[in-house]
């Protein structure tokens, strides 16, 4: 079996047995990347010499010793670029490590390369990258999802053993679903956001994209925990998520929200998700009909709250302290305006303008304040639902991966996030895992949602399903 197809767990065993060395593993991946990434374009930057240098000194006795990981290009690594797939940050170099990077380095992981994304994580297809779109490994004419499309594509195409992404409205789970890998959005506050370039601070969360649920648990163990550098990270205990993976699903109450099984959903997606429901029911879990009545408002709330926060967060990109500065400015304010005009792509401009509008005098109450209140209703929906069930089961996306260029107007792109964004607004945790394929061999994602800090049970529920199915073994057909 080729090394690049293996999981973290399998490679850890091979490394520990001295069957292979970290350098052999990195070389194998670099060859794989050289062969196929020109077609996939999952990576924005690679530094083979640096990866091999890390491999030469990797301590394989550590929990991730010698395991190569891809990092979404909005997470800071000291001395490296962090473009957020934006022209504005094309030549930026991070002066510090994000907390998750410090943690990965401390457990011996090899930072392999930087994954493509929608500019500043704003998008659902990775088409908004300033440096070219990423192709879906299952069908090059289709998008890999987004915004962590590069992270999902490199894991699915065996160009990385695992990856980190960020999820603000589905940006880990939706690309994982579209590319046929596992993607976990931890509870808000579970993982420190220090060093992740902020898009919408009350929604953003860093999480793993992996080949298996067990690998996601392993990575979550490492990146979780309170961080005094990040005030919204929470001082809650971090259990060993790998220890409870095999807890099983006997007596597990699986909530089925009627609002997530709607008209207009793709028939093959619906059939695959219903088959997964039936599997849970047949194997000891109990299906419970639940309601999340404010689901219909999630997209409106999200595109007000997220853009409002983005307009404030992206104010820092003014060409004064870092990033590209327009040389054409006539005075200070004109320099900011030209810098941002030349540095930002269309989607970022649209969202910053929308966010500025909903926060502006006269419209704040009608839009932002109202949206924040409806967000409380959405959060309450989940609190009530989790009194009746332990996890909630839904499709990750109403369709499989769509074609590049298919969603040309912003609103239709926004509507594609319908099943993932409420999870961020309610600050709970969610995972996407493969649950089948369409007749055209496109992966279908199953989303499981857990309560605040309920990742242990969520992962166990996902692991039980994954172990009983062969979806993860199927590889893209281009090989």
């Amino acid at each position: 079996m080729k090394l690049h197809t293996l999981t973290i767990k399998a490679l850890r065993a091979r490394l520990a047995a001295k069957d292979i060395t970290p350098a052999e593993l990195v070389n194998d991946l670099l060859q794989r990347i050289a062969a196929i990434d020109p077609q996939i374009h999952g990576y924005l930057r690679l530094n083979p010499a640096d990866a091999l240098r890390q491999a030469a000194t990797a301590d394989i006795s550590l929990p991730l010793g010698g395991i190569p990981i891809a990092i979404k290009d909005n997470i800071a690594v000291r001395g490296e670029g962090c473009t957020c797939a934006s022209r504005l940050l094309e030549h930026y170099t991070s002066p510090f490590d994000a907390t998750v990077i410090r943690k990965l380095k401390a457990v011996g992981a090899i930072l392999l390369g930087r994954a493509n994304m929608d500019e500043f994580a704003m998008g659902s297809s990775t088409e908004y990258s300033a440096f070219g779109r990423t192709r879906n490994p299952w069908d090059f004419a289709r998008i890999p999802g987004g915004s962590s499309g590069g992270s999902a594509a490199v894991v699915a195409a065996d160009e990385a053993i695992a990856a980190l992404g960020t999820d603000t409205g589905g940006s880990i789970r939706q690309p994982a679903a579209f590319c046929g890998c596992v993607g976990l959005k931890p509870t808000y506050g579970r993982v420190s956001r220090y060093g992740a370039v902020a898009f919408a601070s009350s929604l953003d969360q860093i999480g793993p994209l992996t080949k298996t649920v067990a690998d996601a648990a392993l990575l979550l163990n490492i990146i979780s925990g309170y961080d005094e550098l990040e005030n919204t990270s929470r001082p809650v205990p971090v259990p060993d998520f790998t220890a409870t993976l095999s807890a099983g699903i006997k007596g597990l109450r699986v909530g089925i929200p009627k609002e997530y099984f709607i008209d207009g959903m793709d028939a093959e997606v619906l059939a695959a998700v219903r088959a997964a429901m039936a599997w849970y029911a047949a194997n000891g879990a109990e299906l419970v009909d639940i309601s999340l009545p404010n689901t219909e408002h999630a997209i409106s709330v999200y595109y007000i709250v997220a853009t409002a926060e983005a307009s404030a967060n992206l104010a820092r990109f003014d060409g004064v302290r870092y990033g590209r500065r327009s040389p054409d400015g006539t005075d200070a304010v004109n320099t900011y305006s030209k810098t941002r005009a030349q540095g930002f792509g269309s989607e970022v401009k649209r969202r910053v303008i929308l966010g500025t509008y909903v926060l502006s005098s006269g419209y704040y109450d009608a839009y932002y304040h109202r949206a924040q209140k409806v967000r409380q209703l959405l959060r309450r929906d989940f609190t009530e639902a989790f009194k009746q069930c332990d996890v909630i089961l839904t499709p990750t996306s109403p369709t499989p991966a769509f074609k590049a260029g298919e969603k040309s107007d912003p609103l239709s792109m926004y509507l594609a996030d319908i099943f993932t964004i409420a999870v961020n607004l309610a600050e709970v945790c969610g995972i996407s895992l493969p649950c089948g394929f369409t007749a055209n061999s496109l992966p279908i994602g199953l989303q499981l949602i857990g309560p605040h800090f309920g990742e242990a049970r969520l992962l166990a529920a996902a692991h039980a399903y994954e172990r009983a199915h062969e979806w993860a073994k199927r590889r893209p057909g281009f090989d």
Binding site: T93, R321, D331, V333, R340, V352, T356, Q376
Partner: protein, 96 residues
């Protein structure tokens, strides 16, 4: 109706983003559509929702003693500056 409420050129100037004429008219219609969609929120009954969320899962203020600790050096902080001199960021004059 919102496409009239939203004056994209004005809001873009507040956001410090210079727009071309083409962008102005494109964003005017695209963002008008999004706002029109979000209009549905106006009908939600919020009479039972407090102004400030009450939820034990929400973060609260976190304070630490105000003591000096190591941080980025000035050289590191300035490394990405488009223009710098004498340990300062250089930018166009603000006050004439």
């Amino acid at each position: 109706m919102n496409s009239q409420i939203l004056d994209v050129a004005y809001v873009a100037s507040l956001a410090r983003i210079e727009l071309s004429k083409e962008e102005q008219s494109l964003f005017q219609s695209q963002l008008g559509q999004v706002l029109e969609y979000a209009q549905e929120l106006q009908a939600v009954d919020l009479s039972a929702v407090p102004d400030t969320p009450v939820d034990p899962n929400l973060p609260t203020n976190v304070l630490r003693p105000d003591t000096v600790r190591p941080s980025l050096t000035a050289a590191d902080a300035l490394r990405n500056a488009p223009q710098q001199a004498n340990h300062l960021f250089i930018m166009p004059k603000i006050v004439e």
